[in-house]
Symmetry: C2
Subunit: 149 residues, 2 copies
């Protein structure tokens, strides 16, 4: 894909909507497109890992290993960010993520992630909103699981 097309593609991602074109070029230069076939794991719970992904096309499941087997806790799709938890906590992957359909992603290294957050407060706020919403959804699931005991 030509650089201009890549920049246009980046601009269509809400996380990058307010980032200046010159900075989008930098992101386009330093990030990489990675495609995963359906059924392929991006990473497994407990893995070490220091990259995040933004979904450009397709969908992926977030899966927890429990004593009773796998539990799917979320389905992620276009524009969702994946794998930011391990980067933020400097810890192993907290869940497994597996492509449901063919998944096209933009790979973001830990360095680029922190650089983007440092330079673009809008990206930081958006990542915080995503984390808050996921925490809210997980808390609601916990409330339901306990209520049903």
């Amino acid at each position: 894909m030509a650089l201009n097309e890549e920049v246009d593609a980046l601009r269509s991602i809400p996380l990058f909507a307010r980032v200046a074109p010159s900075q989008l070029k930098l992101i386009a230069f330093t990030s990489e497109r990675l495609t995963f076939p359906a059924g392929r794991e991006l990473f497994h719970q407990g893995d070490e890992g220091d990259v995040a992904y933004i979904v450009l096309e397709g969908s992926a499941d977030v899966i927890l290993d429990t004593p009773d087997g796998e539990m799917t806790v979320a389905r992620l799709g276009r524009n969702d960010i994946i794998g930011e938890m391990a980067i933020l906590m400097d810890a192993p992957r907290t869940a497994t993520v597996r492509a449901v359909s063919e998944l096209v992603t933009l790979e973001i290294t830990k360095d680029m992630f922190f650089r983007m957050i440092g330079e673009f407060p809008e990206i930081a706020v958006e990542v915080m909103r995503v984390l808050a919403q996921r925490l809210d959804a997980t808390t609601a699931r916990l409330r339901d699981a306990r209520g049903g005991e």
Copy 2:
């Protein structure tokens, strides 16, 4: 408390550790100390609310209303941030927070919260880390609750 003492107190909060003294003065001017007696609720699940709190002294419980009654999901103490979820999601309070012992807090308005995040990427990253850790802890509780069904 004199302004210099207030600035020293703010600097001892990890969230503000790297913020310049001139900016800490601004935060000290525009934030307010609020004290809650033991047993008092800072807010109740479902309430509207657009302020967050940083705990200076004491501890507080985070409590969910479930069909079977109250469930305490976390205990927060010195330097912890409380109430940032409703600000980030522009939504009602997702849980009740109740003072366990006398609780001294620094009240941060929504405007100040976003201003701090915009001006100090270190604060943004620290809030993200807190959210990621809370999401991780809640996910672990959900895994255990489901595993035990």
